[in-house]
Amino acid sequence: MPRAEPAILFAALGDRTRLRLVDRLGDGTPRSIARLGDGLPISRQALTKHLQVLERAGLASAVREGRETLYRIDPAGLLAAEAWIGTVSAQWDSAIDRLKRHVED
């Protein structure tokens, strides 16, 4: 059961810090890096790197507001993650077919 394609999404989410960032952005309010990092024990550089990973995975996007860069959640990325559950389900169907062929023949 390869899980490669939406894997980029889940690789992006396969990290506690990034999960927390997505959680914080989940209410739809754009936030600055400083606000996103509130209470997280990591540097601004590390935070920027994590946000870039989320951006590449289509889970967050950056918007300029004056001199500040704000990050917001990207619904398209989340929809794709959701669709991934459907993919996993279809992959189980296909795995079950292969199992049946293996034992029933």
Binding site: M1, P2, R3, A4, E5, P6, A7, L9, F10, A11, L13, G14, D15, R16, L19, V22, D23, L25, G26, I73, P75, L78, L79, A80, A81, E82, A83, W84, I85, G86, T87, V88, S89, A90, Q91, W92, D93, S94, A95, I96, R98, L99, K100, R101, H102, V103, E104
Partner: protein, 147 residues
Amino acid sequence: MTDKIEKTTLVRAPIDKVWRAISDHREFGSWFKVDLDGPFVAGEKSTGKMTYPGYEGYPWLAWVTVVDAPNRLAFEWTPGSDAPDDPETAPRTLVEFRLQPEGDGTRLHIVESGFDALPEAMRKSALRSNTEGWTIQIDNLTRHAEG
């Protein structure tokens, strides 16, 4: 988003044969399309490489939790991520195979659960998921992943 995926099916083979196909790492590998390094042992890590066409060489990593012949096998794995930053702390789902004899065959129940370990935001967005667009997206992704 649902917390689990459940599949129930009647396999036309006796339970011992189905159990072997699931619990013997070589037999499991031949239908699941993975080359496993060693047997499934409860409490131990299972490693290997996918052999699924198009995805050869992708790492397989699971933590076996239950091996209870001939009724139950369970393992945890990290959904989706081929290379999570830290596989030991990445969110995991639990996969359970349950087997019961039924007539001449075997009732097989497969549950993958724990998708709620994924972020709250994803679960919220999942509640709005029953749209046509979503179905089409699944088709696309399925074709992509399986094609």
